[in-house]
Symmetry: C2
Subunit: 499 residues, 2 copies
């Protein structure tokens, strides 16, 4: 739970020592705190040819209260920003002669590039131009967000190719930016129209106010807010797709309590990542029901008491449990179900016992299948609801001694991909988060060398916290995230390890 | 080009020293040699419930001259093997008491598991049972092949989920098997019917000989041969999909000269990986035309002379080149085009010059687009042809100082994915290989620490050779690989590094 190296090199003495010995100096990540402003500072905006998402972006930046500067390549920005009443200026590159640490230019909190109009690989030089000029100006723990179009939906192979190329840039930027900076790519489906396009279509009849972009707002606002917020501190190197499924958040939507009035269930909620998920969902307004094994009832009760939640001590693998969960929740229904419960029983396969295989598959995977079937059949999970499953980087890349765990967590990915189209009719989304190295009691028990390797082999040079996983789940559970389904988002600080 | 550690620990003194100091001991990989039998030894066969691919598998194993043993879970194997005239016996697990090194049981060269009938996560325990019993018996440099069904084509979410879970097992097995063992997963589309199914359908009319499985033979034989052969020495942790596109190899097909009578083009062919590709394609019977920049004409001439190929000194980025290539090849046409030419110009983006960006994108990506357009328009690339592009692990995962390179190589993946459906009408396949750390003049110039990290951070604990990339390309270029398109196969020894 405690990364003493991270703490040490961020102390005055440790920082001096790290500098003189050229030791790596992981940044103390800026995380969300209820007592500090979630959004502040400057966003530098760049754009390729024919950018289509700047209007929506300007609306979001104006509403969250950040200011903006526009790179020379984003000439369309100024009028849009003015229209949204957004304070804006011209981006001035930091003076390279002054070195990367100095320079009189104010540092920016985020670099956002609208690549939606890039239709050919030759146009990728606009991406280069922006990040070449702007990366030095990005503050520590800053954000890089590249907005593109889903390659597989592009009309021409050349456009698909150029949009797909953005992945290489975004992931490379995450790896070279360091300093706690996160870099992510968001592919926004074309059906999520910008207000400019829509008002051009419905023309004179509609008013010209900024509120007429609520369509796109519900489409991408929850995601832009997440990636610009300290809530996404440990999410980097990810590619997220936003589809066209509509979600209708009114203009009076309370973004500080997005889950107000909703009922959420979290399995494995007594401790660790599960308890963090329960806490975050409750802080966002949900009533949380925590499920955990009867043996953990005391811890579960304590966790639920703190958040005025409900404890349901159930063994999720018992044959009768799915029906019992459905019955227990049936009266009020469920809006958000988080399948977090999971175990490891590590052994190389030649030494692994059959129960060790079966237990891990059953708890981490099959139980999720049975519970969802019961909840969906009974209608307990409401239309428009959210399912979020916890997978793992081990399910993506495999791991020594974890054939059972990796199978279960790879299966979770299959579950999310296979269920998404089925659930779309009921406007239910299903997604997975795949944690990398997260500081928990489990990782605290690892041998030192393995723990240190896991901690440092990512772009943040440190492990994540349970709250990082929880915040990512809360974003996927958000009413505004209706367009995100069937996806896997790693919470891994851009771990080197992959498949 | 020279991994002195690998050589040292495989010398008598080095091996003793490595043992006593507990140093890692990478295996000398068994690679294809024209003067040694490509296939020999025993395949141990396992199966889940209702396996559908055993008949096809038995046919291939019989034809390549290996023998087989059947695990207790594969009761369907014996009669099928007998039908194909394949020597077979019962698999006896190695005695665990005797330790993993000892045991009187003959070691096996390959473990093949037919998981095609697994329809539910609970049935994954059959996978466990086979590898639990059999992994210890697998010889060094052995092969693990798991056969499944493409998850996205499965009828039920539960089946999709269970098939997707196989990825976690296969990748974990690759990581824990070590000893130069490669582990791969092949998803075979259902339309590629087994001869048993087909003969049941056309029943009495058809004869009951083994030759009546030529349909599935052309579907999966080139792939099974590749993964059972020492040609795939450095390909591990990969997932390959075989679709239903038919390819008709006659019963008299010469598997030793699969490209006989074909014309292949390789860009960047003067040296390194390009020269290795040219050599392997020529060894498999193709006439090779090598393209490289005019400055490399001497090296290109020398490489082509050795294989009786044709040298075409062209700068692929010159505007007139695509038309010139098409004109030069037009009379005889092209069956196989390998886009291998590529450069790096590494710098962090803030220090990268605009020409460094543009050059890398243009040579590695845009030039491929222009050349393919010219060849396809002119009809120079024949119907039923093959395009293979060289991507990179950097295009998948991104890399520090390689925003340009990673963008270009990620774009290559987009090219392959976007062009595949367009080219399917003409029965042309397009795929990419993504090399990991390959021992070349380029890697020989890396600083020692970076080179050693790159070499060791994979399941083989060593870098690959150019020939490993070349053999993988030859498999994709094979006339029997008609069902493989739009895919990216890493040649990386199951590198830890991924996305």
């Amino acid at each position: 739970m405690n990364d003493s190296y991270l703490n040490f090199v961020n102390s005055p003495l440790g920082a001096r020592l790290a500098r003189s010995l050229h030791l790596p100096k992981p940044e103390m990540l800026r995380r969300y705190r209820a007592d500090a402003p979630e959004f502040d500072g400057i966003v530098a905006v760049g754009a390729g040819p024919s950018p289509q998402l700047l209007d929506a972006l300007a609306g979001v930046i104006a509403r969250i209260g950040m200011t903006s500067v526009a790179h020379a390549g984003a000439s369309a920005w100024m009028p849009l920003a003015n229209r949204h009443g957004l304070m804006t200026g011209r981006f001035e590159p930091a003076d390279p002669a002054a070195g990367s640490q100095a320079g009189s230019q104010a540092r920016v909190r985020a670099l956002v590039f609208d690549a939606s109009g890039i239709a050919d690989s030759a146009q990728l030089d606009t991406v280069y131009a922006f990040f070449h000029d702007a990366l030095r100006s990005l503050d520590k723990c800053g954000r890089i967000v590249v907005l593109g179009r889903p390659p597989e939906a592009c009309a021409s192979p050349r456009q698909w190719t150029a949009q797909r190329a953005l992945e290489g840039v975004t992931r490379s930027l995450g790896k070279e930016a360091r300093r706690g900076i996160a870099s992510n790519l968001v592919y926004v489906a074309d059906g999520v129209k910008s207000s400019a396009e829509r008002s051009a279509a419905s023309s004179a009849a509609s008013s010209d106010e900024s509120s007429n972009d609520s369509g796109i707002r519900s489409g991408i606002e929850s995601t832009l807010r997440f990636f610009l917020s300290p809530r996404s501190a440990y999410v980097s190197g990810q590619v997220v797709r936003i589809g066209t499924a509509p979600s209708s958040l009114g203009d009076d939507f309370d973004w500080t309590q997005p889950l107000a009035g909703q009922r959420a269930v979290v399995t494995g909620a007594a401790r660790g990542i599960g308890a963090a998920i329960a806490n975050v969902l409750a802080a966002q307004g949900a009533h949380v029901t925590g499920i955990d094994v009867p043996a953990a009832t005391d811890a579960l009760d304590a966790t639920m008491r703190q958040i005025s939640g409900t404890a349901l001590p159930f063994d999720i693998t018992a044959p009768e449990t799915p029906a019992q969960i459905a019955a227990a929740l049936d009266e009020l229904g469920v809006d958000v179900f988080v399948h977090n419960a999971g175990i490891t029983k590590d052994k190389t396969i030649a030494k692994m016992s059959e129960p060790a295989w079966r237990n891990v598959i059953d708890i981490n995977l099959s139980a999720q299948e049975r519970i969802d079937e019961a909840l969906l059949e009974a209608g307990t999970l409401r239309d428009g609801g959210r399912i979020v499953c916890v997978s793992s980087i081990g399910g993506i890349a495999g791991n020594i001694g974890q054939t059972n765990y990796a199978a279960s967590k790879a299966g979770v990915i299959g579950r999310v991909q296979s269920m998404a189209p089925h659930l779309a009719k009921r406007r239910i989304t299903i997604n997975a988060v795949a944690p990398g190295f997260i500081e928990t009691q489990m990782t605290a028990k690892m041998p030192l060398a393995i723990r240190e390797a896991g901690r440092r082999m990512n772009s943040m040079s440190q492990g994540g916290q349970p709250v990082d996983v929880a915040q990512t789940i809360a974003w996927l559970a958000h009413p505004g995230s209706a367009g995100i389904t069937g996806q896997v988002v790693r919470v891994c600080g851009q771990s080197l390890i992959g498949a």
